[in-house]
């Protein structure tokens, strides 16, 4: 079968990866899709996806989330995308490509973007059951399946970028993970020995086992041919249930070899500066399969994109050339920042190093400086905050001394060199090659006023995303410079920040939202009904300060009721079908058998789904609105109270069993966790607050991932602040060491009240710490050294909170007027909501989701369109 050759010339693209997709976009931008037939032969069963973010599949991104291809783009440009139908042969004389399906396509221009394949060292049994590579979504699916069903231990061969990601993924799947790296350090390409050492310590602290300086000699299997271990070059044997090879990639050039095109000695389709193959002007090669004119194969996406642009420009008969690219990279590997840029290894003659190293904090920063003071390159491990600025300064003499660029800001003398110091030609987004001047132009000439607009206009920040922070700073600076006032107001109703509103409420003793809106709101918002942003935020401020300003601390009292988000209003957590979940407080995670039984009985009697939470308590799902007071009444009778799982307030204080039971424990962590949870329960704050107390340095309670975490020492307690888990994990910073019980509590009182006072709405302590000027050092000055003289007031506010705490559930079940609100229908109090219905699953209930689809739901295409916001 032969595809009909039309009058229009045909471009055939072989391979639909990231670079292939970018090439298609470049064709469309140049109008070539209108004048050409474009056929894409893609081997994988799915269109182009973000391979750089592949590992994020394990943190919950679905293959759909990773997709880079929108169907409309393909359709609107008339591109014939053939999935699962790779090119098998090229006949350069006849100018045809034959696909696996038998389809033969004539081409005028052929573009090879076949990418690379994972290198698997030629060791015995490398293909055994339980051996994997780490390259495609399908690989990940296979690894996940095997890890879940057949493995408890996993080893990754290769300690480079992908190897570390793969090891992190195995660990995330619950495996005991090992990394085997032949070189003497991790990430040998990007970092030097010092950086590798810093990285090694941090990775080991995460619980991964690292073997450097050893090679893999043989994969050991059992009788069935499944992996049981591997033999290493130092004579040792490592027991493992699965092996993931991640020892580098090689260009996929077999198709080109078979077609008689020139390939390099170590692989790669040889191309000229226009990305045209050196032997055939009708054939181009771009991305990881190409051997560029400078003799290198580029394995990064940014140079691949540049090659895609070059090839498209050349096809459009525009002038373009790819002469080589910057290999700078910034990554977050297993939560550790790693960046290298320019001449990272100091190969330039007479260059000198400036090194800052803090093994305790896992920091390593090196700058390579030329004899004349020019910044040539560098390596950053543990903190790559300055990467955007430093990379852009590379090649020039920095305006401040080099050592001040690597010293941490908290050391006092670190220079805060912002992006405003950069020249206009500095490249901010290296994925899309966008300069600072272009970004400024987007603001000044194209009138963009927000980061998303600038991203859309310039494409900056839409690649790996590592420049988005610098982008935001540039946009703000440019807007301010051009006289546009950057509106830092809370919402359309208030021009003040949350912090300013807090100060207003406290200073003027404002106890009513309406009064605040009518007196202090924006002109047009006064007298109105506010909005869903400021109402809960102001409600939270008033609740935090209630005892001090003379407001009711009960969130359902009077006007307060109308301000609360639905969760706070119903004192429970709304779930997807309109039912609620109920979480009683279990302080410190300690619970007596009798109380466990009560929870079990209540869940059984009301037919609730139960699940243990990450915060050491029990969540009961599936309660209807009208059941909530009945459930609370039984819980309150049994001595339980609200766990505030619904509020922007203290959630839980986790604990390990501590010195009472554990042979390693050095303090009674359970008692401290209970004390803290009972002290801060019900405290309304800008966002939720989580805490934990560990009884020794082994840190079983994971206190360093909490807003405030406490770790026992033989001399007392260490207090950590600003930690976070979730989507943007952050290790907490040590605020103070070896505190007595009283010192610890006093310091937490001050810290929490200072946070509540100065944080933005929905700003966790982790982002707050990074945002406020001066960062951790400033917070330490304020709450430890009382530099602002406000500590007495902060402590007083907290004492007032503690003294006035009341259980919201008990208060509600004892108030018949409030109880009247807990009905599904105001005109049919005894009728349950028919949409809230359940079906069985694994001996419990789950929401009857198909039921939600019946009724007035809009058509599917409407849903898809709106889901992207």
């Amino acid at each position: 079968m032969t595809a009909t050759p039309g009058a229009t010339p045909t471009i055939v693209l072989v391979g639909h990866g990231m670079v292939g997709q970018r090439f298609l976009e470049a064709l469309a931008e140049r109008g070539l899709t209108a004048t050409h037939r474009v056929v894409v032969l893609c081997e994988e069963p799915r269109p182009a996806y973000d391979r750089v973010q592949l590992t994020s599949y394990f943190s919950g991104r679905t293959p759909e989330d990773l997709s880079l291809t929108d169907r409309e783009f393909i359709r609107d440009h008339g591109i014939e995308l053939r999935l699962g139908d790779p090119a098998e042969t090229i006949d350069r004389e006849a100018r045809t490509v034959t696909a696996r399906s038998g389809l033969v396509v004539d081409y005028d221009v052929l573009v090879l973007a076949t990418g690379s394949y994972p290198f698997v060292p030629p060791v015995p049994n490398k293909d055994a059951t339980g051996c994997f590579v780490y390259r495609t979504i399908e690989d990940l699916l296979a690894i996940e399946e095997y890890a879940r069903t057949r493995a408890t231990t996993g080893a990754v061969v290769g300690g480079g970028l992908l190897g570390l990601e793969a090891a992190g993924a195995l660990k995330g799947l619950g495996l005991d993970a090992h990394i085997v790296e032949f070189a003497p350090r991790l990430m040998p390409v990007q970092v030097d020995d010092g950086g590798g050492a810093a990285l090694l310590r941090t990775i080991r602290d995460m619980g991964l086992t690292v073997h450097t300086g050893v090679g893999t000699q043989e994969i050991v299997t059992d009788d069935s041919g499944a992996v049981t271990g591997m033999k290493l070059s130092d004579g040792s044997e490592l027991a493992t249930d699965m092996v993931v090879f991640s020892a580098g990639v090689r260009p996929r050039d077999q198709l080109a070899r078979d077609a008689g095109l020139t390939v390099g000695e170590r692989g790669g389709i040889a191309v000229d500066e226009q990305c045209r193959t050196v032997r055939d002007p009708h054939v181009f090669a771009i991305g990881e399969c190409a051997l560029a004119a400078d003799g290198r194969v580029y394995g990064l996406v940014a140079p691949g994109y540049e090659q895609a642009e070059t090839a498209a420009a050349t096809i459009a008969a525009d002038e373009a050339a790819f002469t080589g690219a910057d290999l700078s990279t910034k990554l977050k590997l297993l939560g550790v920042d790693v960046a290298s840029f320019g001449d990272a290894h100091g190969t330039t003659e007479n260059c000198l190093d400036v090194v800052y190293s803090d093994s305790r904090a896992g920091l390593y920063k090196k700058l390579v400086i030329g004899a004349d003071g020019t910044l040539l390159g560098g390596i950053l491990v543990g903190d790559a905050e300055a990467y955007g600025t430093l990379r852009a300064l590379t090649g020039s003499v920095p305006p401040v001394s080099p050592e001040s660029l690597v010293l941490p800001a908290t050391a006092g003398s670190g220079a805060q060199l912002g992006p405003s110091a950069l020249p206009d030609e500095a490249i901010i987004c290296s994925c899309h090659n966008v300069s600072k001047g272009t970004i400024r132009g987007a603001v000044t000439e194209h009138r963009c006023t927000t980061v998303p607009e600038v991203k859309k206009c310039t494409r900056a920040g839409t690649g790996c995303g590592s420049c988005v922070k610098v982008l935001g700073q540039l946009v703000d600076a440019e807007l301010e410079a051009s006289g546009v006032e950057v509106d830092k107001g809370l919402c359309g109703c208030f021009s003040q920040t949350r912090e300013e509103l807090y100060e207003t409420v406290l200073a003027l003793r404002v106890t009513s939202y309406r009064e605040l809106l009518d007196r202090h709101g924006r002109e047009g918002a006064r007298g109105g009904d506010g909005c869903e942003v400021c109402k809960p935020a102001v409600g939270s401020i008033i609740a935090s300060l209630a005892p001090t300003i003379g407001a009711s601390g009960y969130v359902l009292e009077g006007e307060q009721a109308a301000l609360q988000d639905t969760n706070d209003h119903f004192l429970a957590n709304l779930q997807r079908n309109g039912s609620y979940s109920v979480v009683p407080r279990i302080p410190g995670g300690e619970i007596a058998p009798e109380k466990l039984i009560v929870i079990g009985e209540i869940a059984r009697d009301f037919g609730l789904y139960t699940k243990i939470t990450g915060g050491q308590r029990i969540d009961m799902f599936g309660a209807r609105v009208e059941q909530l007071p009945l459930i609370w009444a039984r819980l309150v009778d049994a001595g339980f109270e609200s766990g505030h799982a619904y509020g922007k307030s203290l959630r839980t204080v986790k604990s390990c069993v501590g010195s009472t039971w554990c042979r390693y424990g050095v303090q009674d962590s359970v008692r401290m966790a209970i004390d803290l949870e009972l002290r801060y329960r019900g405290l309304r704050s800008p966002h939720k607050l989580k805490s934990a107390v560990s009884g020794c340095a082994r840190e079983c309670a994971e206190a360093q991932s909490k807003d405030f975490g406490v770790i026992a020492t033989s001399n007392g307690w260490n207090l950590y602040v600003g930690g976070n888990g979730g989507a943007t994990p952050r290790h907490a910073d040590l605020l103070a060491q070896d505190l007595s019980d009283a010192e610890l509590i006093r310091l937490i009182d001050r810290f929490l009240m200072f946070y509540i006072r100065t944080a933005d709405r929905l700003e966790r302590t982790s982002t707050w710490l990074e945002r406020i000027p001066g960062g951790l050092e400033h917070v330490r000055d304020v709450v430890v050294h009382d530099s602002l003289g406000i500590c007495d007031e902060l402590e007083k506010l907290m004492r007032a909170h503690v003294a006035h705490y009341r259980d919201e559930w008990a208060e509600t079940v004892n108030d018949p007027e409030k109880l009247a609100r807990f009905v599904s229908f105001v005109n049919a109090p005894d009728t349950p909501d028919p949409v809230v219905s359940f079906v069985p699953e694994r001996d419990q209930i789950k929401p009857d989701l198909p039921l939600l689809n019946i009724g007035l739901r809009p058509a599917d295409d409407v849903l898809e369109g709106s889901a992207q916001r």
Binding site: G492, C493, R514, A525, G528, D529, G530, C531, E532, K535, P536, E559, A561, A562, L563, D565, T566, N567, H569, F570, L574, R576, N577, G578, A820, R821, S824, F825, V826, N827, A828, T831, D833, P834, V835, V836, L851, L852, N853, I854, G855, L856, R857, P858, V862, L863, G865, S866, R869
Partner: protein
């Protein structure tokens, strides 16, 4: 939408195809919050009262999730238009027209409502 006088014995009524349907006492509506009502045909309506005592009624079912929860959303004013934000995924709906402020292609039914 009708202006209502603050009196305790007023009833909230909805305009249905076959005339006015009495839902409940006006005093059961707290300004700034909603309640849900069940119609004779099984449909659900979310009723709201704003701080100026104006009344609004829209379909209770959130078209983005299918759950009957709009009555539990937060209300507000956006460029002079009263709205309720869905408590699930936060899309806002104009309380007078039922139009979704975040996606003009989606709307919920709006009802005439009065206090009498």
């Amino acid at each position: 939408m009708t202006l209502a006088v603050e009196t305790t014995d007023l009833k909230v009524q909805l305009q249905l195809a076959d005339g006015w349907f009495t839902v409940c006492d006006l005093s059961l509506l707290v300004p700034g919050r909603g309640v849900a009502a069940l119609l004779p045909d099984g449909r659900q309506v979310a009723l709201f009262r704003d701080r100026a005592d104006r009344l609004y009624a829209v379909d209770n079912r959130d078209p983005f999730t299918g759950a009957a929860v709009l009555s539990r959303g937060l209300t507000g004013t956006h460029q002079g238009r009263p709205f309720v934000a869905s408590p699930l995924l936060k899309q806002r709906f104009d309380l007078v027209t039922g139009e979704c402020l975040d996606d003009a292609s989606v709307r919920v039914a709006a009802y005439e409502v009065r206090a009498l």
